[in-house]
Symmetry: C2
Subunit: 292 residues, 2 copies
Amino acid sequence: MKKSAIIILVLSTFIFVGADKIPKSPTEILADAPASDWVDIDADNIVIGKLADGTEFIYLLAPQFAPKHIENIKKLVRSGWFDKTQIVRVQDNYVVQWGAPENTPLPLDVEKDIPAEYEFALSKHKFKQSPYKDTYAPRVGFIDSWPIGANKTKGWLPHCYSMIGVGRDMAPDVGTGQELYTMIGHSPRHLDRNIALVGRIISGMENLTNRPRGTGEMGFYKEEGEKIPFASFKIAADIEENARPIFQILDTNSKTFDAWIKARANRGAPFFIKPAGAVDICNSMPPVKKVN
Amino acid sequence: MKKSAIIILVLSTFIFVGADKIPKSPTEILADAPASDWVDIDADNIVIGKLADGTEFIYLLAPQFAPKHIENIKKLVRSGWFDKTQIVRVQDNYVVQWGAPENTPLPLDVEKDIPAEYEFALSKHKFKQSPYKDTYAPRVGFIDSWPIGANKTKGWLPHCYSMIGVGRDMAPDVGTGQELYTMIGHSPRHLDRNIALVGRIISGMENLTNRPRGTGEMGFYKEEGEKIPFASFKIAADIEENARPIFQILDTNSKTFDAWIKARANRGAPFFIKPAGAVDICNSMPPVKKVN
């Protein structure tokens, strides 16, 4: 063997070993995932909100955790009731809120007296525990590609950035679903188990977060003219099949998800010098992708 | 004693006991704090950034933790260098970034080769440990009214919402201070100890978070015209004494701070049904108030 060939062989071995040593980034792991690790999202749980200014945001509902609230929300969407509402509150490092306050007339079939749905029995679900500790919950993990806070027997959705909650009055009653909010700052997890969470925004979050902050108490817009009107809300299942957006979510029971969360906890070269060795539940929201 | 007087006495006892049982809210605790629990902030560490559109944001520097970076930042502010820079990047749920990239000419006295300043020896400071656990750091707490992540011997500033970091290149080198960013979503704590943090925004955060998100890679603005220009940066100490803003910060070694953090961990009636019993380091940023 010629000397130059040996050098090339030795070099390519080094390159191979070197490449092998750099673990895949979270983005690379998602790009390499088998198609079977992505789960189709039920179009009946996807809501497309269009704003009067032409922008939109899309959210995913979680009927397995808050069925009664979500029954109401779907009725309010399908009846066109939400179309006439507005964004009424933008409080920095806290929430964007839309809908209409209690005592606004509602369609007759909307239930006003519903159960709290703030937590649920874990025994009814397949809970996959995260190895990382949490400040607020005894343990955290995932069910059906949703982030979950949990103790020994109960589970609940956490107030992570982009999750959607149901506004309610000060007294410990229960909201109807006519006022919704999403988290736009550092996740206010102290709200967990005190309000019903019903879903998460999966597209167009930036069309809510970029709004002027309200200057009234708690970030409410002071003037009628500041409120941001909607054009329409639609459930994806109600749109003709080839015209509706289609989304998939990464299966949290897949090996790809395990690798992804581990890579997010241990970010590597070239940028990272000291990987954290852990990742917060709100920094590991199961990835969603639009496939059509 | 008349029967009615007895009833009034009994009733008022009930009212007194009742009022006594409802613990003070975090806001009430701050309102009732003795003046001595608030510490004056050194005007030499306050930077006032004015945008060309007339809005402003104000940030506080932490020279005790990143002295070399902050020396550079003060030189860049005082020389007027930052005035000609822009907001160049707004990435949703991540950062707003301003300044100018490496290889932009800098004033001659700005140091290009500075130490990492990503962490510091705890032995040099009075560290007050928080009782609550953290996902990212072995322990968290406070030094001089700054939030701190820590292990046994080292401390570091955490990447909480509104903290300010120093942009750097991909390779594990060190930024000069000419590119700064602040966190605008769920706190990206995995960046801790991988970048120098130098301060926090104490006023006008909403004038950064309400900006359009950049549509380029990593949220950079694609077009020159999208970039958001500044009018001026000034250090408060350089402004005439009766014209400069004056701020105070709650002393994290005070009893008021202990009560405040406990109240934030255990939110009470009338709204809260299940207090969390804990609070995240990024949800307990020491309160700041403007006194002039």
